[in-house]
């Protein structure tokens, strides 16, 4: 993801020219939010796309509403999280299968599957902390805001998760 200054600049463009700014915001955040939904909440592709659409919909319908947001990135992830939790509370028809996270070499695909299996054994908050910290480059502070908990809680969730994954994944081959 882009650095803090680039993100701030992007949202400034959105304020001045919503059409152009939205294209930049979507290009930057749609992937990370989508992957966060898929990997943290075990949502199917269709479910994650539905939530992604609903998260971005107010941004295209009412751009004025988002001019005063302090941390737009955290806002996007928090919206996605809330929608995912709501969706998960509804009855679901099928159990999910996590697709391989990477494509290319067979070894990588195999690693991806091992990581996914290991991740699925973690408590949800720990899984979220890993996805947001390692794959979205978020700070503990931002994760704490998204998960609505203290900084210490996030840090300890992350450390527990890393320790557990180290046990489960044969990474040092």
């Amino acid at each position: 993801m882009k650095n803090h200054n680039e993100i701030t600049e992007m949202f400034e463009i959105y304020r001045q020219n919503p059409e152009k700014g939205f294209a930049l915001i979507y290009q930057t955040f749609s992937g990370p939010v989508f992957r966060y939904l898929r990997n943290s909440f075990n949502l199917s592709r269709e479910e994650a796309e539905d939530i992604l659409h609903n998260v971005f919909l107010p941004w295209v319908k009412n751009p004025q509403k988002f001019t005063g947001i302090e941390n737009p990135a955290a806002y996007l992830f928090t919206s996605a999280r809330n929608a995912a939790l709501k969706k998960r509370s509804q009855p679901r028809e099928q159990s999910l299968t996590i697709e391989p996270v990477s494509h290319g070499h067979e070894v990588q695909v195999e690693d991806a599957m091992i990581i996914n299996r290991a991740l699925s054994t973690l408590p949800e908050e720990q899984k979220e902390a890993i996805v947001l910290k390692v794959w979205t480059d978020m700070t503990f502070e931002e994760i704490a805001r998204i998960q609505q908990c203290s900084l210490q809680t996030v840090a300890s969730r992350y450390r527990y998760a890393i320790a557990r994954l180290k046990e489960l994944i044969p990474w040092n081959r």
Partner: protein, 138 residues
């Protein structure tokens, strides 16, 4: 709070970063619903403003109407006078009934035995009464 140097395992995990992307259809759907792609026309606020203006015009017209004097109002509602149908003339205005058919005479005849009221029909007595009054006046 943030670790200064990354653990090799964390680096390994980073390298396994998933690359899955949402389908372009999501962006297309959003663009369709975007405010900047909506056809320009009277929005909801404009429609409600027009409605309020229409109501104001109606109310103003009603107030003006109630202020007009009755005569003016009446003149607006004037209609051509209706012609009254001429009264129907009965074929026989009045039938001349003989004196006997008048109620008093009939009554007198009925009670003839009980009361002698024959003087009522006696024209000479009426004349006498009249002449008596004349005598009083002298």
């Amino acid at each position: 709070m943030e670790p200064l140097s990354k653990d090799p395992f964390e680096k390994f995990l980073e390298n396994q970063r998933p690359s899955e992307e949402p389908s372009p259809e999501v962006f297309r759907r959003l663009q369709k619903e975007a405010v900047w792609n909506r056809p320009a026309g009277p929005g909801k606020s404009m429609l409600s403003l027009l409605l309020v203006l229409a109501l104001l015009v109606i109310v103003f017209a009603n107030i003006n109407d109630s202020r007009l004097p009755e005569a003016v109002k009446g003149s607006e509602q004037m209609q051509p006078p209706k012609e009254k149908a001429p009264p129907e003339v009965p074929a026989v205005i009045a039938a001349v009934e003989p004196a006997e058919k008048i109620g008093v005479a009939r009554l007198l005849r009925h009670y003839d035995d009980d009361f002698n009221l024959s003087f009522a029909e006696d024209r000479s007595s009426i004349l006498m009464l009249g002449s008596a009054r004349e005598l009083d006046n002298i």
